[in-house]
């Protein structure tokens, strides 16, 4: 099922992130109160991007060491292609839904809302924009981000192997410059990318740098008492503040007259510093608290989550599709509390079921020829 030496913590936390992304993406869903976004300033998006960077570095870094840069780069590009096809698949589902609704629903009072279907009037433009990754409707922003980050990573990987410090510094500078100079990628029909790739690349590069680093070296740093204390204190402050905001009603807890710039430190589009630091503190403490072999050979509750993480692309796409379906059920049937919790639970069970099936199917197909090691690099 898993390649030996694989860090199951990555799979577990990525799986958890995918389940959170599914639940968070159902609008007006009470179950979303149980995901991390209510207790800390970051959400599953940070988790997903960081682990993707880390996992990409371990998988493709290994290939780089064994087979050299050209082969490693082609493997990254193949992965990009798979993600790209998945994105287009989700996009087609979105278009089908909008086209169906726009054709049947014709109520002038909602003319402004129906403007969301205006791209249907110029399919020749819309399709090209979608292919160019410039058109990402509701909740479809994270896959284009992942594709672009991985494309950049294909070029960066050989450099990151030899000179991580300047690359990390450059990445950090770009992260800081993006909000200051309003650097972002334009989107279609208007606006900019919801996940600014020029800002979010920093978290991916941090993950990739850590993924390539010698574990012993980084662990020595991670286990320094002063560093642990700093992370714990910051995380505790974030935990208390955000939980209070959730309980007291969002920003009710923020005193009146708070300067506007304070809002920007929690900005999701540009990965505001509060979100970034909160996530790094969380990740650091998770690494320290959960030993590397914690999940090895462990059955029981972590197993289904790990399986989701090991099939991340399939389960991610499935999650987006399911959150969309769950939303339809809530709109068409009933949005009662029991329904909200019910569709959320059903979705999680389906994701776990499919992950199990995929693992079983992959295990079977490996039996005759065990030499297909690269395929494990989800």
């Amino acid at each position: 099922m898993s390649t030996p030496g694989r860090d199951l913590r990555l799979d577990f936390f990525r799986g958890l992130g995918l389940l959170f992304i599914f639940v968070d993406h159902i609008p007006d869903n009470a179950a979303a109160y149980f995901t991390m976004a209510n207790f800390v300033f970051n959400d599953a998006a940070e988790l997903f991007v960081f682990i993707s960077g880390y996992a990409a570095a371990t998988v493709f870094g290994g290939i780089l060491d064994r087979h050299g840069a050209p082969f490693a780069i082609t493997q990254v590009l193949k992965r990009c292609w798979t993600l790209y096809v998945a994105h287009i698949f989700l996009f087609v589902i979105f278009v089908a839904n909008v086209a169906y609704t726009a054709t049947r629903f014709n109520n002038p009072m909602f003319i402004e809302e129906m403007n969301v279907a205006s791209f249907l009037a110029e399919p020749h433009v819309a399709v090209v924009k979608a292919l160019a990754l410039q058109f990402h409707p509701n909740f479809m922003g994270i896959l284009p981000l992942y594709i672009v980050l991985l494309l950049g990573f294909a070029l960066l990987l050989p450099l990151l192997r030899v000179k991580p410090v300047p690359i990390l510094a450059g990445s950090g500078l770009l992260y800081l410059a993006a909000p200051v100079f309003h650097l972002n990628v334009t989107a279609y029909p208007e606006g900019v990318w919801y996940f600014n790739p020029l800002a979010w690349q920093f978290l991916f590069v941090i993950g990739a740098t850590l993924g390539l680093a010698k574990t012993q070296q980084t662990l020595r740093f991670h286990r320094r008492p002063a560093i642990i204390a700093a992370s714990a204190a910051f995380l505790l402050a974030c935990l208390v503040a955000k939980t209070w905001m959730t309980v007291a009603g969002f920003y009710d807890a923020v005193p009146p007259g708070t300067p506007e710039f304070v809002w920007l430190i929690g900005d999701k589009t540009n990965l505001g510093p509060l979100r970034l630091l909160n996530f790094l503190a969380l990740a650091h403490l998770a690494v320290v608290a959960v030993p590397g072999n914690f999940f090895d050979g462990r059955r029981g509750w972590p197993q289904p989550v790990i399986l989701c993480g090991q099939n991340s692309l399939n389960i991610f796409c499935l999650g987006i599709f399911l959150s969309f379906t769950a939303h339809l059920v809530l709109v068409e049937a009933s949005n009662a509390l029991a329904m909200q919790l019910g569709v959320s639970a059903a979705g999680v069970l389906i994701m776990i079921g499919v992950a199990r099936f995929l693992a079983w199917s992959r295990g079977r197909s490996r039996e005759p020829a065990s030499a297909r090691a690269i395929q494990g690099g989800e």
Binding site: F110, G191, D252, V254, V331
Partner: protein, 255 residues
């Protein structure tokens, strides 16, 4: 527990219900709301005040309101401009305060974001209103604009007007089942609620009200002929006028 204690409990409960009923009748008499428009009182309950508007109403025996908003404030889908909710609000408030001069100026313009409305804030201020009813969030939802700058824009607008002695009341997005299938207004509705919380503003939850009408089969916006759609728009705007008036009256008393 003995029987008499139980009876006392029941009597106390009955008395409390009588008081509540009497209160409800009084409140109902304040702004008579057509039956088709009615929603549970808890849905629109909001105890935030309108201090400046209340002061002006008392002093000048007049209340000038500007309706700032996008397509639905403008009145899209209605049979005539006087059927838009700002005009219906003026009508409902005039019935409530027959001795006062009530004016509602409609500054709704189609397909505008809060940012675009802020660009013509001078027009709003030039009217010298006591109250601005600000309807927003739809354009942001459709165009998938960023949430944090939306909050900042709303705060800046509210503070600017407060500095000039103008109260602000907020209205969120509208609801229809088909629309919910293809857009997600939740982040923007949350943002509007946050701003209302932060500045202690009255929020009229249009989305919840319309969703209640649809869920309880009072109204439907699906598969209507053009004539039916116009009638439905007139009815919605009329009901919104009544219910917003009710919220305004409640807030004027809350000072």
């Amino acid at each position: 527990m003995n029987v008499f204690a139980q009876l006392r409990g029941v009597a106390a409960l009955a008395a409390a219900m009588l008081v509540l009923a009497a209160y409800a009748i009084q409140a109902g008499a304040a702004v008579p709301i057509p039956e088709i428009c009615q929603v549970p009182a808890g849905l629109t309950a909001d105890d935030s005040p309108l201090p400046r508007a209340a002061e002006r109403l008392k002093q000048d025996k007049a209340l000038k309101i500007v309706a700032l908003g996008s397509s639905t404030t403008f009145g899209v889908g209605a049979s005539k401009p006087s059927a838009a909710w700002p005009a219906r609000l003026a009508d409902a408030l005039s019935k409530q305060f027959p001795a006062a001069r009530i004016t509602v100026v409609n500054l709704g313009r189609q397909r505008q974001s809060a940012q675009e409305m802020m660009e013509r804030i001078a027009d709003v201020i030039a009217e010298k209103p006591a109250l601005v009813v600000w309807e927003t969030g739809t354009s942001e939802t459709v165009r998938h604009l960023e949430v944090e700058p939306f909050i900042a824009t709303l705060l800046a607008g509210v503070d600017r007007m407060a500095g000039l002695g103008i109260d602000v009341m907020l209205i969120d997005t509208q609801y229809a089942r088909s629309v919910e299938r293809i857009i997600n207004s939740q982040p923007y509705r949350d943002a509007i609620a946050q701003v209302a919380h932060m500045r202690n503003l009255v929020l009229f939850p249009r989305y919840d009200v319309m969703q209640w009408w649809v869920t309880n089969e009072k109204m439907s916006f699906e598969s209507l002929s053009p004539a039916e759609a116009t009638a439905a728009a007139d009815r919605v705007y009329d009901c919104l006028g009544y219910l917003i008036a009710k919220s305004v009256v409640h807030a004027l008393k809350a000072n």
